[in-house]
Amino acid sequence: MELLLASAIGVLIAAGVYLALRARSFDLILGLTLISYAVNLCIFAMGRLAPGKPPVIRDGVALTLTNHADPLPQALVLTAIVISFAMTALLLVIALRARSAGASDHVDGREPGDKA
């Protein structure tokens, strides 16, 4: 299972970086979204994989990490998910405004070959 997760993270990063390097603003946003999925999975994976052991304290289950998944990386990732969503929304609006009044959606604000 570790190999599955690691390879999925790698593929997400590769695709995300490739899209982020594209010339259009929307591709950049898609790329950053994929990268943020990968990074969230990566941080989460640092707590090691523990399928079937939610970090909720129940009666009779000893309070050790062999019986629960690591809650700390999960808390960190939760924050990360929320903030990266906020940034995605912000980027979308910036891309939108950058396109105002006939300007292009190229990441540089103008088509290559146009003078500024």
């Binding site: 909720v56 309070l63 609006v93």
Partner: protein, 923 residues
């Protein structure tokens, strides 16, 4: 307690001037003068302690980790200097009240003057070296503002800029030097530093520290080669020149030399550097003073020369020389300030400061003339005036150098030369202005100034005379106190008398007087001096250097920046790649031997879904609707991965965030091209692909290597303490709203700010600025959707509240609940249209964000009331009738804040995007 009051007086005056509604000249001058006089009163009060040789201290810890404490320390030297600052300050304020024109803003002028006075006082009585540097920089800044006071004049602006650049750079050097010294001694407290002189001098870092501190002192005191800013600072109003640039601020450098004397002086390096710089400055300043055409310019160069003299004396490393230096500090302040004020009077009455136009003013302003003549003679070193006494002491000391062979005749010889020049320019000042023909005055017939404008000059000249005639009864105690403060020990034997018998110094003085006067008349034959124009080479050099530095900066920027975001990103990614792979390749990073988990069939399915989705996105990324849906599918796979790997909170959050971001992206696609432009085929795409693949492979290897190693986690603490300390069974939620609530506070603040930025950016946007990409959808969406959302909405509210309330003990919590409600409301928007929904749902989303943050912070502050630090929570039980005791952790208040902020911010984002109207579309 007196010390902080003393320091606060000028700052209080500045504050009063800042806040008072209407400030006239009299009020402003009165307030500042009152502060100065009150300060003098404090000094008089502590005079007995100073005479006994005590040191008064005051200390409050400020930043103990940095070694910066607000400690004030006043010993004899500081006391004497503070008396100069406050005494001359009071006189200058009185003078300035009459000097300033009616339309010069008094609030700004006197306020800045008060600020400067306070900062200068701070340098004087600071007991901590870092505090001294803070006040040092404050004087640089207030001096900058005062020089540029008449900011409509270009020469004032340039002079101010030059002064700030040089003294600011010196201040940085001083800071570096102070840091080194603090490092050597182990503390920045002045007491410790002054006691550790031998330790400092023996340290290998002594020379760098010395040079840096000296750079600070020399730039401030306009020593060669940093002297050129002072003449350009003469563009300031004359009271400023009299106060800052003769009596106090430029003296800060020599004050520093005196202050640090026990700590840094006594070594050969000190002797050679300080003496040579002082000597050079003294003679160069004096020579240049002779050829000036501006009244204040001559006085400026003369100040430079006299400061060089004081520096030279400090450099000689003998105790008697120190006494002479302190004496000259006192004397120079008196006669120079009076001369500057006299020059200002002349300027005020005649309208010009040019030697070529000023002649024969004796007839019109005899009293002022007499005062100026006396002060100039003191400057020249004529007997029976205070300048003579300190010049004598100076010459005596230069003739007693024994330690360093060539200097024992070089220094006296050049000193004599300096004295000759000094006499020459003093005579020039007197002769060229007050005698010799008729004046050419733009302002009409000159006459004596207002009574009170002359009073400060009179006072100072009387002091010059009194000290010169009877030093034993006037200045001796003051000198003793001051010198003892510098030496931090017993004083050598010296006699302050007018007549020491015929000795070499006296012969030198007389020679200088005769030769200097002769030199002046020689140079001035046929008004030759009036025709000589001195080109400011130093300023040209300064400007040229500045221009070259700026040009270099522009060239570097142009080379690195070609305005292509893709290139920057590529460089960025390559740097990250390099930084990440370096340690990875260096250390053993092969996967270790932890037994791998068996692959769950669901995991394999999710893997296929994710990889498939990603490949599809890559393949069809130009068809944007499709790409958004595929990215949503990948997000779903990620969410299910969280479910599989026991992260229920994460899974819920990811799912809801996914939903909202897909919605937002689709809304944005209305205004962005729905099919991306085709990209030019080229090698760059292969480069990008190669870099991307490398990143992916690297990350995979890294993650796999980590996952195959065991871990040592700190989270058992959270698991064990979740229920007893935080009252919650959901460990993740407990960490978020309780143990690490401070981070969450920051996070919701960021979320709120993002929403506010979106609001600000879209507030003014309208159809005119945004081109629509798609024709609007059907006017009325499906009936099924409408009815089902109406049913779903109350359910959604219930579920949201349920998830919120149970979040502390089961998967749920503020984020998830808020996002859920937001998604439900967005469905409503989609179902019924924006206009319909806005009429019914719209609320002041900003208020939600604001109150939410308030709730979160108030919960945190609430713990202050019980004496606990910020955000400590408690877990009482609340008895609800018919339900029983319900655990109600105070973290609930915090979670409520989170809920409100996330909900309000999300709705704000969505509603702003939804409200963008096009000129054609309906909703």
């Amino acid at each position: 307690m007196l010390l902080p009051i003393l320091l606060a007086l000028p700052f209080t005056a500045a504050l009063i001037l800042l806040l008072a509604p209407r400030v006239g000249r009299n009020f402003a001058a009165g307030v500042v003068a009152l502060a100065a006089v009150a300060g003098m009163g404090v000094l008089v009060w502590i005079a007995p302690a100073m005479i006994d040789g005590e040191v008064l201290r005051f200390r409050v810890e400020w930043l103990p980790l940095l070694g910066l404490s607000f400690s004030l320390r006043i010993d004899g030297f500081a006391w004497m200097f503070a008396a100069i600052v406050l005494g001359i300050g009071a006189l200058v304020v009185l003078y300035a009240r009459w000097y300033l024109a009616a339309d010069d803003p008094p609030r700004r002028f006197f306020g800045l003057l008060a600020l400067f006075m306070g900062a200068m006082l701070g340098i004087t009585i600071a007991g901590n070296l870092l505090l001294l540097v803070v006040f040092w920089e404050m004087t640089s800044v207030s001096s900058f503002l005062l020089i540029g006071f008449w900011n409509h004049r270009a020469d004032a602006r340039l002079g101010a800029r030059m002064a700030l650049t040089i003294t600011g750079a010196g201040g940085l050097c001083l800071l570096a030097g102070v840091l080194l010294i603090g490092n050597i001694v182990g503390s920045y407290e002045l007491d410790a530093v002054l006691a550790a002189g031998d330790v400092i001098r023996a340290d290998p870092l002594y020379l760098p520290a010395l040079i840096l501190v000296l750079l600070g002192a020399f730039t401030k005191s306009a020593q060669f080669p940093f002297h050129f800013w002072l003449p350009h600072a003469m563009a300031a109003p004359t009271p400023v020149s009299a106060y800052l640039h003769s009596a106090t601020m430029v003296k800060a450098g020599v004050f520093l030399l005196g202050r640090m004397y026990p700590a840094l002086a006594g070594s050969d390096e000190w002797f050679w550097i300080v003496t040579s710089v002082g000597l050079a400055t003294m003679v160069i300043g004096a020579a240049l003073a002779i050829v000036q055409q501006d009244l204040k310019g001559l006085l400026a160069y003369s100040t430079i020369s006299h400061l060089g003299l004081i520096t030279l004396l400090f450099g000689l490393n003998t105790q008697l020389a120190v006494v002479a230096a302190v004496f000259h500090i006192l004397n120079h302040a008196t006669f120079k300030a009076s001369l500057f004020m006299a020059a200002g009077i002349i300027d005020h009455e005649t309208g010009t400061r040019d030697f070529r136009k000023l002649n024969g003013l004796w007839r019109y302003m005899p009293v002022t003339g007499a005062l100026a003549v006396v002060a100039s003679l003191s400057m020249a070193g004529v007997p029976l005036l205070n300048g003579f006494l300190s010049k004598e002491m100076f010459l005596t000391e230069t003739l007693s150098i024994s330690a360093h062979p060539p200097m024992d005749w070089v220094v006296p010889a050049i000193a004599l030369l300096g004295a000759i020049f000094s006499v020459a320019y003093s005579v020039r000042f007197v002769h060229d202005v007050f005698f010799g023909g008729e004046p050419l005055c733009p302002a009409g017939i000159p006459h004596e100034p207002a009574r009170f404008m002359r009073v400060p000059v009179e006072v100072l000249v009387v002091v010059c005379l009194a000290v010169g005639i009877a030093p034993q009864y006037t200045v001796a105690p003051l000198l003793e106190i001051g010198a003892r403060g510098v030496l931090q020990g017993p004083l050598p034997d010296y006699k302050l008398s007018v007549w020491h018998g015929i000795n070499l110094p006296l012969i030198f003085s007389m020679t200088a007087l005769i030769v200097g006067t002769a030199l002046y008349f020689l140079l001035q034959r046929g008004n030759a001096l009036h025709r000589r124009d001195y080109r400011p080479l130093a300023k040209l050099g300064f400007d040229a250097t500045l221009e070259r530095v700026l040009a270099l900066a522009r060239r570097i920027t142009a080379a690195l920046e070609n305005e292509s975001l893709q290139r920057y990103l590529l460089l960025f990614v390559l740097c990250v790649l390099a930084l990440g792979s370096a340690p990875f390749l260096a250390a053993p990073s092969a996967p270790a031997a932890l037994p791998a988990l068996a692959a769950h069939p669901l995991a394999i399915l999710l893997w296929v879904m994710a990889i498939g989705g990603v490949i599809a996105v890559l393949r069809w990324h130009r068809e944007r609707f499709l790409a958004v849906i595929l990215v949503g599918a990948v997000g779903l796979a990620v969410s299910l991965t969280f479910v599989l790997l026991s992260a229920p909170d994460l899974a819920l959050t990811q799912l809801l965030v996914e939903m909202i971001s897909v919605i937002l992206m689709l809304m944005a696609l209305r205004w962005l091209p729905q099919v991306g432009a085709a990209e030019k085929a080229g090698a760059i795409r292969w480069l990008h692909a190669a870099v991307a693949v490398t990143c992916g492979v690297g990350t995979t290897a890294l993650v796999y290597a980590v996952l195959s190693r065991p871990t040592q986690s700190i989270s058992e603490f959270f698991l064990r303490n979740a229920v007893p300390e935080a009252g919650g069974a959901n460990a993740v939620n407990v960490i978020i709203v309780d143990f690490r609530a401070f981070d969450t506070l920051g996070e919701i603040a960021v979320y709120g700010i993002a929403a506010l930025i979106i609001h600000a950016m879209l507030k003014g946007a309208s159809s005119a600025t945004l081109p629509v990409q798609s024709t609007p959808g059907p006017h009325r969406p499906s009936l099924l959707l409408q009815i089902s959302t109406q049913v779903l909405l109350p359910l959604a509210i219930t579920v949201s509240l349920y998830l919120f309330l149970r979040g502390h003990n089961a998967p749920g919590g503020g984020f998830i609940a808020a996002l859920l409600l937001a998604v439900a409301l967005v469905l409503q928007y989609m179902a019924a249209g924006v206009r319909w929904s806005e009429k019914r749902i719209a609320s002041n989303w900003h208020a939600w964000i604001g109150y939410g943050l308030l709730a979160a912070v108030a919960t945190g502050i609430g713990s202050f009331a019980f004496g606990y630090p910020f955000l400590t929570s408690s877990t009482p039980y609340v008895a609800i009738p018919a339900i029983g005791a319900v655990p109600f952790a105070s973290a609930m208040g915090f979670d409520t804040g989170v809920y409100m902020v996330v909900f309000g911010a999300s709705m704000l984002m969505v509603s702003m995007l939804a409200r963008l109207k096009s000129e054609r579309g309906p909703d």
